[in-house]
Amino acid sequence: MLNNFQEFYNIIPILLIGAGFLISLLIEMYFKKSDVILPWFTILIFLAAGFHALYAVNSVSVIFQNMLATGGIVNIFYIIFTFGAAIVALLSIDYIKKYGTYFGEYYILLQTSILGMMLMAGAKDLFMIFLGLELMSVSFYSLAGLNRKRLKANEASLKYFLLGAFATGFIVYGIALIYGTVHSTSIDMIASRFYELSSDKLFIAGILLFLIGFSFKIAAFPFHMWVPDVYEGSPTTIAGLFSTGGKAAAFSAIIVTLGVLFTGRIGNILMPYLAVISVLSMFYGSIVAISQDNIKRMLAYSSISHAGYLLIGLAAGNSFGVAGVIFYLASYTFMNLGAFGIVALIEGKDESNLTLKSFSGLASRYPLLAALFSIIMFSLAGIPPFAGFFGKYYVFIAAIKSNLTWLAILGVLSSVISVYFYLRIVVLMYFKDAETDLKIDVSKTGLAAVIISVLLVIIIGIAPGTIIDLIAFFFK
């Protein structure tokens, strides 16, 4: 039993964000200059929570009557969420003014969505998974439709809400069946009885429904219909958060709930399901992305194919695969935020400059933006030495270790296809003449956010071994 001080010390990241959003509400109410204070206050809260999680990564404990875990991979997820969100907030400062009028709720909902993600990653009980999911999703639904005057934003918000609620229904149904067979909502209980129950059809049906619900949230193939429309209609910075934080949180929920499957101690009975939707997502995303003309829709389809690569790591069902997935999520978060960040910088008033045409000849006028975007595209395509390559490398190796060589080969094939549409943009930027008269005033804070994410992509690419060892050390 830990003493109380230690318990409070361990959950400081959650307390910080919980207190932070309440204080943000007050700032929004009482300060006239809240549009200047609030973004920086939000960034400060995220950074404080993130650095605390980094500093306390070793203090592994379970608190609140077996409800919440701290330390270890939980803290690694906290770091991914909070640093990602800090980059989103930094990007938003100028973008949100360009996008429409300023809304204080933007930063408040941003903080609560991160709170939901952190609760999902730290959950030790299905109640917490569900609450975290709802906290994240409700914030996301409102963030997607924040600008009510735009028809596309309304469509995005409503579509996300209806399909998200439908997916949550699946998850709750799954949780009900799991509770019915395990007689407990505790994840430790589920883990310890998983082997004996794995021949129980009712239990498997519950697990499958649970996974189907989360397949919606991670945007895997048969459950992806909402992704392109929602990304296109939402503010670009928020679409970046959906595709990174939202996806990472859903994966963290799958990993904490079904973690015992992926340790290699018992057979991975869900391998067929995971492998099939993984292959479908990879190829569907990569092939459909080729025909997209809108950059946000293209990134949406790329996000679907990345969900496929990530699922390979789970289908492999060994601890190396899970470590690979977490590493992949970390690198994917920063490179995708960089990509959406550049799109947000280039985007003009009223959704202009979002077609691929706007990118042709970019290198001659904005060489820095073109160079940064090229690095991100190379990383997303999985070309060494950037972070994206190592993410794919680790999940493919994990698949080969579990005798799923065919899955790794299909993964490589799909990433070869995806190279086409990623590098097409690089070719457009460097080797084509400008087709449109593109004039943008690059925001300083936005540019700083993009530079930070590109630096992180490069750093992760330089020292992947240290990070993967750290993750593998905590996930045994």
Partner: protein, 162 residues
């Protein structure tokens, strides 16, 4: 088939049938009224299971509160009562495949499972137990539910603003 079974199937039939009409009927006011029966049927099943507190909450919050709100919303919204809702079917084949798969999985697990049947005990009041759990074992869940409701409020307010 004893009286317990008959009551259960009665409530189950009310729930499922009225839920079916909620989605198929074309008049939005009729839909709202059918929803009343769905909530009522669910409340009946809760009573049958001995969950007295949840049954009362279901009646007070859903039947009494939310449904009346929906009806007022429908009636006060200008010209909405006469709107014919478009109900049609698109993507019939994929939907049929999906539903068949899901139904197959659920039926297979239903047939396969050895359901425990226990003697129905005299139900006792559950309110005190729920209260104790909410402030002890599930204290953090209780707190977070408060935050969740606050977020829903903020989200709804930001959607409804000018």
């Amino acid at each position: 088939m004893n009286i317990y079974d008959i009551v259960f199937y009665l409530f189950a039939a009310i729930t499922v049938l009225s839920a079916f009409f909620v989605v198929t009927t074309r008049n939005i006011v009729y839909s709202a009224y059918y929803l009343l029966f769905t909530f009522f049927g669910v409340a009946g099943i809760y009573v049958l299971l001995g969950a007295d507190f949840i049954a009362m909450v279901q009646l007070i919050v859903y039947v009494g509160g939310i449904l009346i709100l929906i009806l007022f919303g429908v009636m006060l919204t200008n010209k909405i009562t006469s709107v014919e809702i478009k109900t049609g079917s698109v993507q019939v084949v994929p939907a049929a495949v999906g539903v068949a798969l899901l139904a197959g999985i659920l039926m297979a697990s239903m047939v396969d499972t050895k359901w425990r049947s226990v003697e129905t005990a005299m139900p006792s009041a559950t309110t005190q137990g729920i209260g104790m759990l909410l402030i002890q074992q599930y204290a953090i869940v209780f707190e977070l539910l408060g935050i969740l409701l606050l977020i829903a409020l903020i989200g709804a307010a930001s959607m409804a603003r000018k």
